[in-house]
């Protein structure tokens, strides 16, 4: 029974991924070729060799081709923060978890994310949506730290730090050829930040 369900789910997942991937690839190609605002859902479906009805089985609208799946990321972050031993301090948590988190969420999508980034830059509504997404993720990180007993200000700065390291690492990785993993870019940025931050220790705040 269990085996049959697993097999069935596996087949379903492959089939779904197939259609979803084809729709995503068709959409990205059309967005690049003719612009985001000029592209319609029927065009995307036709390019993927699927129906409009199938499109709407996976995406609420064409914008969600670019943002779909992202809504699960804040919950994943909060889960990671809740699971970590309570004595681990915020920066230690960021340093120890960020590379594997980034690898899990983004690491397998170098080409698609690069194209996605290019498309988002061209459209004000998309840029706004991207910022909302980042704000939601940051709020989830702040909340995750506050739930661990971190004060609000420290939680805010820790979240900013995580977003800044992740954003810088992603930008470097997406402009590279992608042969080195994202986790390496995260480690490089963290190392540069550690050097930078170590200077704060011996500086007197006025």
């Amino acid at each position: 029974m269990t085996r049959r369900v697993i097999t069935y789910t596996g087949v379903m997942a492959r089939w779904q991924t197939g259609a979803q991937d084809r729709l995503e690839q068709a959409a990205l190609a059309l967005f690049l070729e003719q612009g985001f605002s000029e592209t319609t859902v029927p065009q995307i479906a036709a390019r993927a060799g699927l129906t409009t009805r199938t499109f709407f089985r996976y995406f609420a609208d064409k914008r969600e081709v670019l943002f779909g799946g992202d809504e699960s990321v804040p919950a994943l972050v909060q889960h990671m923060l809740a699971q970590a031993p309570p004595e681990v301090r915020p920066v230690s948590l960021i340093v120890s978890q960020l590379a594997s988190f980034a690898e899990t969420v983004f690491g397998h999508r170098h080409q698609v994310l690069g194209i996605r980034h290019q498309i988002i830059r061209t459209d004000q509504g998309l840029r706004e949506r991207e910022l909302q997404k980042k704000a939601t993720l940051k709020a989830a990180i702040v909340d995750g730290f506050v739930q661990r007993g971190t004060d609000e200000l420290t939680a805010t700065l820790a979240a900013d730090l995580a977003m800044m390291v992740l954003g810088t690492a992603l930008a470097r990785w997406l402009t590279s050829d992608g042969s080195a993993p994202l986790s390496t870019a995260v480690a490089q940025v963290l190392a540069a930040f550690r050097t930078l931050a170590s200077e704060v220790e011996w500086t007197t705040i006025p």
Copy 2:
């Protein structure tokens, strides 16, 4: 000769500030009362008891009431970074200069900035303009550090750090009653960040 020019400039500046302040106050009041998009330049001029022609002597359009003056900030930052002794490291520079910089640029405008922040939140075009402004400021900081010989990655992280401390301090100060100066908020955020950052030292990056 020099004395006369200075005196004349002084008088001009006072006169200009009078009309400009009246226009700014009228515009902010109208933006709050009836919304940014519903407010026209003739309405602003009428509320200030001035002509539309006078309005355009100070502002290119109604949006520039909210953003005018900001264009000089990146150059100010670059000047500060260029003036500092070459041996001063990025974080030391941020720690030693940020409070006085923030105080100079924003410290005397608690009420206006609070209203401005409220208005910008309501309009997508204004939010976008605000982000452009922040991106320009960040790029100026990165460039200023690179000019001092800082490598690009460290310069980017230092700029992010400065923006993050400034942004957090401004948010805290603008939601306070403004009785404590902005420089105190900057010092508090820097102190919290120092504590947070000191944890990086003893954490091994994977």
